[in-house]
């Protein structure tokens, strides 16, 4: 079930009479996916192709003394073997690619370990062979001599002064005085406002708690996979599943010291990414192997490798203290966030800090974040990176504050909610936000007042995400029969092909079925930042819309030529050129007619727009969750879930609902079951879906979504990003519901049955 609640603001192209945008057409990628014809990363086969596999470290931390590949090279069928020696030894260098800066040395050394392995699963060598079994046999013949080093996998243990140091070059940034000893704390950041001590001194009520979340994986069903071919003339081709073909091109060029013009990357259909496919693991390795042997090389991670060697998101340890007046006005907040970065710096603690209090208008606060390296896989982005972790801590504390105040949890949120014109905790003034409307949507929903039974509890939580714009290119071409093709450079991870086609169809006046959206390779369309940050429908949609508008202007010009009137006499109405002056007796000209005559009016009809979209609007979510806890087993059943979200304008409402439902499902798993478990040696013990339990359909109720449409006037149709907000509130919404059901406050994720049983048993 879904409701759409609308508050109309100014969106340039939304006149209230949209014909395509806001409808629910059949998805253009649906047939291929349900019939098994879609080409995913592992599906491509090429003549002469060989199989690439990676030898991974069995140690969490060790010095590589030597690697002997001689026996493996001698094995018949082995075509190539690479180690770090086959990659440039890159210096530390910040570089721009995709959404933000990265460090070239770290990226390269995560792809292939150099001198030291930093986590169980770290790549040490790779083999290309004529068959999978020969590749496996060759991996077993590679002799690596390790000097095992002390390791540390837990965040707070890694922050200890006597912890094993992962990087001798790492000195904590962000301190008043630069330290003289290396540390696993890569960075400290801080956001402050007002006089915190005075505010706490004057507070009528305070609550304080410590909260933890476990490292969890994005859990995409399709593993990382690619085929790479390095030709004798240096021309490279890569086919891979990722969230950005241009990102793959840039990273491969950087890691292998190649020119971008020599690399063509074709995006495969993607079987889930959720942020985890915004970096490279296999592609540079496959290219290096192909360069050595001359064959195309296919590499596909096993599920074990996906867990052990591709990015999860951070484990977090947080403390939150809130102070409030007796009427519920929050006057003070003190938040400390310690996020696990994995083997290299770069946890999402910055975003976690900026989002932690973003839903609230609090005059005095301090938010301190720590980015901490550990002997675990380098974290990668995961939907709204960092925000769910800090939201779990803050929203749990908010629940405790509401209880202590004797106040309705929703009323507490309403009383302290940010509104247009208020300054966000991270600095800027909010504009065109729909948070209050989203709170209202939950308050007025039947779920909010529905009765609960024995052993049942209800939890509420809210969440925020910025959403971004960025660089995008899109092209629209009109075919000779009047149909259209929309070409973009963004892999479709959440329905972007449908929304691109719909926006083009709306502007062109075509039925959406007449518009074919495709995602092009890096040589066939201009640059686009990767698909992430909830940017594609906003930014690439803007490019599609502008390209379509250019075409409409061109169509009017050509129609004027065919009608023998001036262009200002021609209107474009529902896909037809109409002469304004009826007395001239000019017949209307359809798009198909103009397209048919395009050769006589100047040639093919098409337009391409490249832009850097600014003005993405932030989104807010409010989630309500009912659970029932079996007091005998501690098992949690999620009974009912309602999620309201400020979505701007839902271009394709069914996809938006899908984003919300998917985010909730992942959040439920994060809250109840998912976690990386390491043994004493730092080896991951549950690297498979049997032991790392993600929710399945039978674990979940129907998730009701409420689309609150408060338009973003900077998008032609009012769209805001929608893909990340939905995973921010569920951790705390579920956790608060579980705590309510058992009458005990739980503060550590996942809230698996043993923890719940222990809390019940503690009395």
């Amino acid at each position: 079930m879904s409701d759409v609640l609308e508050r109309r603001d100014a969106a340039p192209l939304d006149d209230g009479h949209l014909k395509v945008v806001g409808t629910r057409p059949v998805r253009p990628d649906g047939a291929d996916k349900v019939t098994g014809k879609a080409m995913y990363g592992a599906d491509l086969a090429m003549p002469g192709m060989v199989v690439g596999k990676i030898l991974r470290s069995p140690h969490a931390h060790a010095r590589i003394v030597s690697i002997d590949t001689r026996k493996a090279r001698a094995l018949p069928g082995v075509k190539a073997i690479v180690t770090a020696a086959d990659f440039p030894d890159l210096a530390s260098e910040e570089f721009e690619a995709g959404e933000s800066a990265g460090n070239l040395r770290d990226l390269s050394q995560n792809v292939m370990a150099r001198h030291v392995v930093l986590y169980d699963g770290h790549a040490v060598a790779a083999v290309a062979a004529t068959s999978s079994s020969i590749a496996d046999e060759a991996l077993a013949l590679i002799v690596v001599d390790y000097e095992v080093l002390p390791h540390v996998t837990e965040v707070e243990a890694a922050m200890s002064p006597d912890a094993p140091v992962l990087h001798a070059h790492m000195f904590t940034q962000g301190l008043a005085v630069t330290p003289d000893k290396p540390s696993n704390i890569a960075k400290r950041n801080e956001l402050t406002r007002g006089d915190l001590a005075a505010a706490f001194a004057e507070a009528d009520v305070t609550v304080e708690g410590r909260y933890t979340t476990a490292a969890v994986h994005q859990g995409y069903i399709e593993p990382h996979a690619c085929v790479a071919s390095y030709a004798a003339d240096g021309q490279c081709q890569v086919w891979s599943s990722s969230q950005g073909q241009f990102m793959i091109r840039t990273y491969c060029a950087k890691v292998l010291n190649l020119e971008s013009s020599n690399i063509r990357v074709t995006p495969a259909e993607i079987g889930g990414g959720f942020g985890g496919k915004t970096t490279v693991y296999l592609e540079p390795v496959a290219l290096a192997l192909s360069r050595q042997c001359g064959h195309p090389v296919k590499m596909v991670m096993t599920r074990d490798e996906v867990f052990r060697a591709s990015g999860p998101t951070s484990a977090g340890v947080m403390t939150v203290k809130l102070g409030a007046k007796a009427d519920g006005t929050i006057t003070a907040a003190d938040v400390v966030l310690k996020f696990q970065a994995g083997a290299f710096e770069g946890s999402p603690v910055g975003a976690g800090s900026m989002t932690a209090l973003a839903c609230y208008d609090i005059p005095n606060f301090s938010i301190v974040g720590y980015d901490v390296v550990t002997n675990t896989p380098k974290v990668a982005a995961y939907r709204a990176p960092g925000a769910p972790i800090s939201a779990f801590a803050v929203e749990t504390a908010m629940d405790e504050l509401a209880a202590k105040l004797g106040m309705d949890p929703l009323a507490l949120r309403e009383k302290n909610a940010v509104r247009d014109g208020m300054k966000a905790s991270y600095g800027p003034v909010f504009k065109n936000i729909g948070y209050v409307e989203t709170l209202e949507a939950i308050r007025s929903h039947p779920h909010y007042t529905a009765p609960l039974g024995p052993n049942q509890g209800r939890g509420l939580a809210v969440g925020f995400w910025f959403n971004i714009g960025g660089e995008s290119t899109a092209a629209v071409n009109i075919n000779e029969d009047g149909t259209a093709v929309v070409i973009s450079g963004n892999p479709d991870i959440g329905g972007s092909r449908a929304s691109m086609a719909m926006m083009a169809a709306e502007v062109l006046g075509l039925p959406v079925e007449k518009v074919r959206p495709i995602v092009a390779d890096t040589a066939s369309i201009g640059f686009s930042m990767l698909t992430g940050g909830s940017r594609t429908t906003f930014a690439t949609g803007m490019a599609v819309t502008q390209a379509s508008q250019k075409i409409v202007e061109d169509l009017k010009r050509r129609a004027a030529m065919l009608m023998d009137v001036s262009v200002d006499q021609v209107d474009w109405v529902d896909g037809v050129a109409v002469c304004r002056d009826a007395s001239k007796g000019k017949a209307d000209l359809s798009l198909a007619h103009i397209a048919e005559k395009s050769g006589q009016t100047g040639g093919p009809i098409g337009a391409q727009v490249s832009l850097n979209a600014q003005g993405a609007g932030p989104g807010f979510g409010v989630h309500l969750c009912d659970v029932e806890v079996d007091p005998e087993t501690g098992h949690v059943t999620v009974l009912r879930y309602t999620a309201a979200q400020d979505v701007g304008k839902a271009i394709h409402p069914a996809y938006v609902e899908g984003q919300i439902q998917g985010g909730v499902a992942q959040g439920v798993g994060w809250a109840l079951n998912e976690e990386y478990i390491f043994d004493r040696t730092g080896h991951m013990e549950n690297a498979g879906f049997l032991d790392y339990r993600v929710p399945v359909a039978s674990d979940l109720p129907m998730i009701d979504s409420i689309l609150v449409e408060v338009a973003n006037p900077r998008h032609p149709f009012g769209a805001k990003g929608v893909g990340e907000v939905p995973i921010v509130p569920p951790l705390a919404a579920v956790g608060n519901a579980v705590s309510a059901a058992i009458g005990k406050r739980l503060t550590d994720l996942p809230m698996a049955p043993p923890k719940i049983r222990a809390a019940i048993d503690a009395g």
Partner: protein, 82 residues
């Protein structure tokens, strides 16, 4: 004259305890140049690491975005996503 606020702690490595600035600038680039003149190295830090909110609207890589007189400009860490 735009009023510039550096909301995050990473800026303090360049500006010390100063977190707000009045800058005579008509564009983001002019603002960055002026801040770099006052605090050497700050300009590159802003260009590489910071997003810029102009009267509440977040911009990234928008060197030539205009800064209206009296506008509030907030420097915040660049934002990515998943």
């Amino acid at each position: 004259m735009p009023h510039v606020v550096a909301a995050c702690s990473s800026c303090r490595a360049f500006t010390g305890d100063v977190a707000a600035f009045d800058v005579e600038a008509a564009t983001v680039r002019e603002m960055i140049r002026e801040l770099d003149r006052r605090y050497p190295g700050f300009g590159e830090h802003i260009e590489r690491r910071m997003a810029i909110a102009i009267d509440g609207e977040i911009h990234q890589d928008a060197l030539f975005a205009p800064l209206p007189p009296g506008s509030e400009v907030v420097l915040i860490p660049r934002i990515g996503g998943g």
